[in-house]
C-alpha cells in the first residue's frame, strides 16, 4: 500500500512538449511511472518519448483512461491548466510550476473545494511511492521503499532528509512535497490523514518551514487524530520578519505570525519531536519505529 500514487496510477503530463515537461516525462518513464499521455493545446497527434499527445486533458483522460496529471505548464497559463485538470476530472493533480500568481491559485483553490480531486502543489517537487511511481521532479534514486511517510513544503530539503533516512535503511512508503506557495492544494493535515489511514506507513516525517499557520494547525490535528507517530523539522529559524526566503510562502509576517518558534512549540506540544538537524530527524524516526 501507499498514498495517492502507485503502479496503477495513469498519468497525463500537461505541458509535455516543453523542455522541463519532456525531460521529466523521460525521467518518470525511466522510474517506471505509468505515463500514458501528454496534453498541450495545438499539439494533439504528436508523440513525446513515445507518449501520445492530445489537445486537451479531457481527450487525454478519455482516450488513455488517465486518472492523474503532472503540470509543467508555465505560470501564466498554469491556473487554467489546473482548472482543466479539475474539470476532466482527474483524481490527482501534481502542479510542479513555480510562480503562479496568488490570485489565480485562490480561484483554483475555491474550485478545488467543490471537487474530489487531490491537488499537490503548486511549486512542489511532486510525489513518489518508491519502487512504484513518481509524479514530478523528485530524484527517484535517493528513495527506497519502506514504512516512513514523508511530507514536506520544500524540495531539496526533502531530498536531504530522505537521504538521511535511506542511509540508515529507513525506507519510505510515500514522500509528498506539498509545495512552498502560500496557497496550496493538499496541506499537512490532508497528507497526515492519508498517512494515518495507510496500513503500510508506521511513522511520518513532517518537514515544515516559516510562513502561514499550517504547521500549527497540523500539530493540533496530530494531537487529536493521529496514532501514527510523527517526527518534525522546521526550516527558517534564523529568517528575519518581512523577508521572503525563496519560497513565496516562506515569510514571517510583520505581525509575527509564521515564526519557526511558534511552529516548533506547537509540534512539541503535540508530542512531535522536532529535530535541530536532519540527522536528528532520522534519529527520532528510528526511536519512533
Amino acid at each position: 500500500m501507499s498514498v495517492l500514487v502507485d503502479d496503477d496510477t495513469r498519468v497525463v503530463v500537461q505541458g509535455i512538449t516543453g523542455g522541463e515537461g519532456k525531460f521529466h516525462t523521460e525521467q518518470m518513464l525511466d522510474y517506471g511511472t505509468n505515463v500514458v499521455a501528454g496534453a498541450v493545446p495545438g499539439k494533439g497527434g504528436q508523440e513525446v518519448a513515445g507518449v501520445p499527445v492530445y489537445d486537451t486533458v479531457t481527450q487525454a483522460a478519455r482516450e488513455e483512461d488517465a486518472d492523474a496529471s503532472v503540470v509543467f505548464v508555465p505560470p501564466a497559463f498554469a491556473g487554467d491548466a489546473l482548472f482543466e485538470a479539475l474539470d476532466a476530472p482527474l483524481d490527482l493533480v501534481v502542479a510542479i510550476t513555480e510562480g503562479i500568481p496568488t490570485q489565480d491559485m485562490s480561484r483554483v483553490y475555491r474550485r478545488l473545494q467543490e471537487t474530489d480531486t487531490h491537488l499537490i502543489g503548486p511549486n512542489c517537487p511532486g510525489i513518489i511511492t518508491p519502487g512504484e511511481a513518481k509524479l514530478g521532479i523528485l530524484p527517484g534514486n535517493i528513495f527506497s521503499s519502506g514504512n516512513v511517510g514523508l511530507i514536506s513544503r520544500s524540495g531539496t530539503l526533502t531530498y536531504q532528509i530522505v537521504d538521511n533516512l535511506t542511509n540508515r535503511g529507513l525506507g519510505q512508503s510515500t514522500a509528498v512535497g506539498i509545495g512552498g506557495d502560500p496557497i496550496i492544494g493538499t496541506d499537512f493535515i490532508d497528507a497526515l490523514s492519508l498517512f494515518e489511514a495507510d496500513d503500510d506507513t508506521d511513522a511520518v516525517v513532517m518537514c515544515g518551514e516559516i510562513g502561514g499557520e499550517d504547521e500549527e494547525e497540523a500539530a493540533a490535528y496530530i494531537g487529536e487524530h493521529m496514532d501514527t507517530p510523527v517526527a518534525g523539522f522546521i526550516a527558517g529559524r534564523t529568517a528575519p520578519p518581512g523577508k521572503r526566503m525563496g519560497h513565496a510562502g516562506a515569510i514571517v509576517s510583520g505581525s509575527g505570525t509564521g515564526t519557526a518558534e511558534s511552529k516548533i512549540s506547537a509540534l512539541e506540544a503535540a508530542g512531535v519531536p522536532v529535530g535541530d538537524t536532519p540527522e536528528e530527524v532520522a534519529d527520532s524516526v528510528e526511536d519512533l519505529l
Partner: protein
Amino acid sequence: MRLHEYQAKGVFAEAGIPTPASELARTVDEAVEAAEEIGYPVAIKAQVHVGGRGKAGGIKLVDDAEEAREAAEDIIGMDLKGYDVETVLVEEAVDFTNELYVGVTMDRGEGRPVAMVSKRGGVNIEEVAEEEPEAIAREHIDPAFGMHPFQARKVVYDAGIDGAVAGEVASILTTLYEMWDERDGSDIEINPLMVTEDDDVIAADAVFNVDGDALFRQPELAEMEEKAADNELEAKAQEYGFEGSNYVQLDGNVGIIGNGAGLVMGTLDLVDYYGGSPANFLDIGGGAKAERVANALDLVFSDEDVDSVVFNIFGGITRGDEVANGINEALDEFDEIPVPVIVRLAGTNAEEGMEILNTDLVQVESTLEDAVQAAVDAAEEVKA
C-alpha cells in the same frame, strides 16, 4: 513588490479614490517650491520602503517656507533605518475628525481575499489586530464571484462606521477591492482614511503591494518597480538573475549558497545552531551551471562582512559529478578565492563529485553538519 507611497497614491487617485494634493520633490528647493504651491500646512514625507517613518523622523509637518526648508534639508539624504532617502512627497495636510482603516489582503489560511475595515485608523493596524481583534471588521471574499456590493456595506457597518460616511467608505472599499483584483495586489490598504468635518473621506496614506509573480501581466506596475534596489548587493543579485527572494542579505559573517529554498534555510539554521551567524540566504535553484555558480560566489564575496562560505548542493536529477565539474569551472574564473569556501555535495553520485572537486581552491566535507561546522570555524578564525 511594494510601491512607494506616491506611486500607490497615483494609482488610487486614478481609480477615483480621493487623495490629498501632493507633489514629489528630489531637492530641498523643489520641496519648498511644492510646499508653496500646495499651501501650508504641508507634510514632507520620505519615500522609502520603511514602516514607522513618522517616528523615525521621516515625516514632518510644516507651517511655512522656513520650516519646509529645514524639514526638507533634514529628510532628503537622511539614512532612514538603513535606506537613503532620495525623494520626498510634499503633501497637503488634511484636517480630520476621525481616522479609519480600510484594506484588502489575501488570507492565505483561507485561500481567499479578506476585506478589513476599522475605526482604529492612524495607528499600527497589526498592533490593533493583536490587542483588540474585534476592532477590525473582516469580510472574506469569494474569489469566484468577487466582492458583492453588499459585502462592502456589511463590513463597513459591522465596523461601526458612522452612517454619514458609511456609503462613501463602502464605495472606496469597493474600488480598493477592484484594484486589488485587477492589478494583482497582495496587500492594499489606506491607513489612515481620514474623515473631515464635512464628512469627506480622503486617503492620507497608501500601501500597495503587488504579487511579484503577477508582474508579467501588470506592465504598468512592473515599470514602477524601482530599478535601483534597496542596496548595492541586492542590485548585484538582480543583475545576476537571483531575483526577488532568492537572495536575502543578513547580518552575519558566514556566506551561504545552496540549491532549493528549504535546504538553504536549513543551512542557515545549522550555521546558527553551530554558533555562527548567517551573512545571507542565496538559493541558486536547480542544477549547477558554471556561470551561475561563479555569479553566486562573486555575489557573496562582494559582501564585505563575509568571512567564510558554505556551499551546499543536493544533486537530485542533476548528478553530483556534473555539479562538481560546474563548481570547478566556476572556481577557475576567480584569480583568488578571498575567503575559505567549504563545499558539500549530496545526493546522486555525490562521492564521485567530491573526488572531482579541486581541493586546492575549496575545502570538501561529506556531511552537512561537518560542512557547516567547518564554515563556522573558518569564520571565527578570520574574526579572531
